[in-house]
Every structure is written in C-alpha cells, then in structure tokens.
Symmetry: C2
Subunit: 195 residues, 2 copies
C-alpha cells in the first residue's frame, strides 16, 4: 500500500488523488499536488502537462498494451470478439483497486472537461485498435466497426463492473452479457441468413 | 445562393466559412467574421459563444429533430434500425449542399480542437437518442447500445457519403452497406441461433 517508495511520479499520482478527494478537482492546483508529494513544481511539470493528465496517466501505456494484445491475438476471424477479449482479459487491477478506479471514474463523470478528455482518449484507443486489426489483415471497414463497437461494449461493461455491489464481480462475464444484449438488438438480416 | 437576405446569423455563418477557407480556421478572428458579415462584434457574440460554435450551429436543432424522429418512429422493435433509419432519412441537404458539408468536415478533421468538439457533440446526440428510446419503452442497456452503435454506424456512413465521387451517392444505401458489414462481424451467437 505505501507508495512513497515508488518514485516521484507515483507520489504525484497518489497526492493528486488524495487532494482531488479532499477538496475537489477544480480547487486543487499543481503547486499543492507537488507540495503534498514532496517534490518541486518543476518536477510536477516534468511528468504531467496539467492536473487533468494525472487522471489519464495510465491511458497511454494501457492503449499500447491493449493494441499489442490485438496484434498478438491467436485469432482475428471474429474481430469484434478479438477487441472485447483483449479488453476483458487485461489485468485491470494493474491500474489500482476497483475502489480506486471507481473513485477516479466518479471524479471524471462529475467534471465536463474531464469527461471530454476521457471521450477523446477512448476514441484514440479505438482508432489504435482499428490500426492493429488492419495490420492483422482485417479490411478497413470491418476493422473500424469492430474497434469502435468493441470499445463501446467494453466501456459500458467496465462502468457496470465498477458499479457492481460485489467485489467478486467478473468483468469478462459482464462483457459477455453486454455482447448478448448486442446480439439481441441485432436482428436477423439477409446476410446473416445466408451464412 | 445569395444568403445576404437571410439575417445576421446566416450572414455570419457564410462569412465565417469563407474566411476559414481563405485564411484558415486558426487565423480567423470573431472580429474579422463580424466585419465580413457587416455586423458588429457584439452581434457575433449574441449568436455564437466562439468561432468554433459556428461550425456546430446546426447541431442542436439537428439533435432535437432526430430525437423527435425516434420518438415518432412507427416501430422500436429493432432499436438499432430505428436509430440508423432516423439518421438516414433525415434530409441532410437542409444543412447545406454536400460540397459545403464536405468542406466543413475537412475543416473539422484538420483541427484537433474542432475534432474534439465534434466527438463530444456526437456523444451527446447518442445520449439523447438513448433517452428517446427509453421513453419509447426500450430497456436501458438495449437503448444505450442501439443509440451509440447506431450513431457510430451513421458517422461512418456519413463520412463515406461525403467522400463519394458521385453526387447521386445515396446515404440510405451506404447506411445499409455499413449495417451489412456490422452483421458480418457479428458472429452467430447462441442467442441468435435460438431466435
């Protein structure tokens, strides 16, 4: 638990989350975060361009890791499943406890600026999945739909996972349920009947 | 074509589009737009909070009109189709010629700030469709998926429509093609087999 040993970046993240919760995101400054983390303001800006970025610090690495999962996937014959599987099988606890992730999401949801940045990060993530699928030989329209629909399915599942009452809630199982809901709204089409 | 008679707001829109194309979006100021439209800067700000908003001036009315289409739809038994149909059947020429819409899209695509605003407007539109579907009695998970997946399908189709070589390109036909692609990536699932 004590993260003080983990270097300046981790200390800054921890200090920021504490301050955001104690006094609100809006009222917290970079200077205060640096002070709480016992680093200089200059060090703060070496790691983060602004306080918003602290909440999305893991997004870049996450995006790269997930795109790699798609590049390494055993099978891309069902690209929508390749995407949702890459997302569901990721070890989300690496980003902190479910409780910590829940607090982060609540903070994002309460601030329009953060919500916008979250949307954009997600869109960029889907674009990167689309590229990865195309590198695996999936045609562009199929790759784009699979990447964006898959990312949305995941976003919805992730939100439900965070909201679940029990700590044992299984993200992969929730993704399966959302995929079944998607199957239900997708009516039988001539092209499906032919396959 | 001459829109000078249509009042200050239309004159401002027209003047802005001309200036954005002549000298670039970034280098155009509200003062210049007002001058070209022969209105005061104060009039500019009565209609638009900033120059970005000019490019999204129709979004609000569009969103309301489309949500109303969903509320009035004959049938919501296939909510994904209700959404894509509402979008495809809208008279897009009301927003200007295809050429004008194409120029607008190119401008948005070339500016990260505009692209972000576009993403957000689209997300808000999908949320409104979700509300409309729920008002029609569709359960919340189904409504959310149908609204967001449908909006993405449309976004992709709209982009292809703008990019099409021929002026006779039919948006509704393109939406059908994208829906068929979606059907292809959606593998046969147990729940589908049972229906």
């Amino acid at each position: 638990m004590p993260r003080w040993e983990h270097g300046s970046q981790d200390r800054l993240k921890q200090a920021a989350m504490e301050l955001f919760e104690e006094q609100g995101f809006q009222d917290t400054t970079a200077v205060e975060i640096a002070k709480r983390a016992r680093v200089t303001t200059r060090t703060f800006f070496r790691y983060f361009s602004d306080k918003q970025e602290i909440l999305f610090a893991d997004a870049e690495q996450l995006r790269a890791a997930l795109a790699q999962n798609i590049l390494d996937a055993a099978d891309v014959a069902e690209p929508l499943h390749t995407v949702t599987r890459a997302l569901a099988e990721f070890d989300w606890e690496r980003l902190g406890s479910r409780e910590a992730q829940r607090r982060r999401q609540a903070m994002i949801a309460s601030n329009p600026g953060l919500l916008e940045r979250d949307l954009i990060k997600q869109h960029q993530m889907a674009d990167e999945f689309c590229d990865a699928l195309q590198q695996r030989g999936v045609e562009s329209d199929v790759a784009e739909l699979a990447a964006h629909v898959g990312t949305y399915v995941f976003r919805m599942s992730y939100r439900q996972w965070l909201a679940a009452d029990v700590d044992s809630a299984d993200l992969a199982a929730i993704v399966d349920t959302v995929m079944s809901t998607l199957a239900r709204i997708f009516p039988a089409r001539p092209s499906t009947a032919m396959s």
